[in-house]
């Protein structure tokens, strides 16, 4: 499988293939020299899985489940495979191999998805028992293990983990019980892979557990509901600065500039700089630029880009968007 098809595994939505997943769990146990779980327990989300795992860890079943065997089925075979490959390829070879295979999936699945999910679970479950926090550490990430699996294609010791990744969500291995969970029913991301949706949850699971987010920033569900009917007045009245930023962005910077009477600050051959004050917050400063490539009818599209509030000229603004100072920004060819 290519890193691209592993990415599809990591982003997959829809019901788990329970029989395939259970078979893969047995394989993982067998590869680790364990006899395998006597019982499988399925739950509808990582949250429900963590709660169930915490109950087992607290001895809710009278200790029947046994200890967590995450180290045996996940950590040890992964560490062995990594060490073997790194010693065969050498440090530079390993860096090249990882960059070509796992770096992108790791960024998109762990940094953009798993980390926000864990942050949310930590917050959700903070008020419950400490054992839940511990249970989160015992999770194996199922489909999200697709973050690193592409770097270890064909390693037989990892075939059980890979099998669960292709068929189910997060899971928790104990000596005699395996807790497995479903994959999301819906997942929406922006162009950078961050959780992002303006019409319902960005991530939701079959048991109803969900996360609302706008460009990776968690937002309360009631704010999402209000987004489509916002007015500039309501945005100005919002007291929470983070929510106000989400609102302005959804509303549209250009429209906000227009409806709040923005001032033209500067104009040069690079574009036009606009500024609108936002009560209690830093001003909205945007550069308006023209597309270099004309549309089929000969007109050129206009764009607005938000720049730091202390920007003084249009050229400085455009240069900033490319990380340059105005004197450095001088493209000879633009298409």
């Amino acid at each position: 499988m290519t890193d691209r098809s592993w990415l599809a595994v990591g982003l997959a939505t829809g019901p788990a293939d329970r029989s395939e997943a259970e078979e893969a769990v047995r394989t993982a146990y067998r590869r680790a020299g364990l006899t395998g779980p006597e019982r499988f327990e399925w739950h509808g989300s990582p949250r429900a899985g963590a709660v169930a795992a915490a109950r087992l860890a607290a001895g809710a079943d009278g200790g029947q489940a046994g200890r967590s065997v995450r180290g045996d089925v996940r950590t040890r075979p992964w560490a062995a495979a990594r060490a073997a490959l790194a010693s065969r390829l050498g440090p530079r070879g390993w860096a090249e191999h990882w960059t070509a295979t796992g770096a992108r999936t790791w960024q998109l699945l762990i940094d953009r998805l798993v980390t926000p999910i864990r942050t949310r679970l930590d917050a959700d479950l903070a008020e419950t028992a400490d054992t839940i926090g511990m249970a989160l550490l015992d999770a194996v990430q199922g489909q999200h293990d697709a973050a690193w699996l592409p770097a270890f294609e064909g390693v037989v010791e990892l075939e059980g983990l890979a099998g669960v990744a292709r068929t189910a969500g997060w899971w928790w291995p104990y000596e005699r019980v395996a807790i497995l969970t479903e994959r999301p029913v819906a997942l929406h991301r922006d162009n950078l892979g961050r959780l992002h949706h303006g019409d319902g949850p960005a991530l939701s699971y079959p048991d109803g557990w969900s996360m609302h987010a706008w460009r990776g920033m968690p937002i309360p569900p009631d704010v999402v509901v209000r987004l489509p009917s916002l007015t500039a007045h309501e945005i100005r009245a919002e007291t929470n600065a983070e929510m106000r930023r989400v609102m302005v962005e959804y509303f549209g910077y250009e429209r906000y500039l227009r409806e709040t009477g923005a001032k033209k600050v500067h104009e040069d051959e690079y574009g036009t700089l606009w500024r609108a004050d936002i009560p209690g917050d830093e001003p909205l400063v945007m550069v308006q630029v023209l597309n270099s490539t004309p549309e089929p009818d000969g007109t050129r599209r206009t764009y607005f880009l938000r720049v730091p509030p202390d920007t003084r000229t249009a050229r400085e603004a455009v240069a900033w968007t490319f990380g340059l100072i105005p004197e450095e920004y001088a493209p000879q060819l633009q298409t």
Binding site: D3, E96, Q107
Partner: protein, 125 residues
């Protein structure tokens, strides 16, 4: 696609004997000396064999580099810091923009960004 205007439509002001700075939509390609390259660069991850400088938002469009002996490089722990090594000649293509020619040399690839209080967001066309 976004940006300042130097020429009438597709802007070309020439650059004589000095290496050129090129822009294609939301990507800026800046010539650098070999000595300015950071240590530890490796070939960047490929997408179905393509060397992609940046992706578009929803269209699936992409800025793609091709050319004889051309390599897209990045840091193993920072995929967004990208450089191009062009041995003889290369070009950067995009579905909505005219292609950009690349003479031999080294280039830094800069993705256009937008200010976001507390964060920076990359632009995609």
């Amino acid at each position: 696609m976004i940006g300042g205007i130097l020429g009438a439509s597709v802007g070309w002001s020439g650059c004589g004997t000095v290496a050129c700075m090129y822009r294609q939509g939301d990507v800026l390609i800046i010539p650098v000396n070999e000595s300015e390259l950071p240590a530890g660069l490796v070939p960047a991850p490929r997408d179905r064999g393509r060397m992609v400088l940046a992706y578009g938002e929803a269209t699936g469009h992409a800025h793609v580099a091709t050319g004889e002996g051309l390599t897209l490089l990045c840091l193993p722990d920072d995929l967004e810091t990208m450089f191009l090594r062009v041995r003889s000649y290369g070009r950067v293509s995009h579905e909505e923009h005219a292609p950009v020619p690349l003479p031999a040399g080294y280039y830094r690839v800069v993705r256009q960004r937008e200010y976001e209080p507390g964060a920076i967001r990359y632009v995609a066309d």
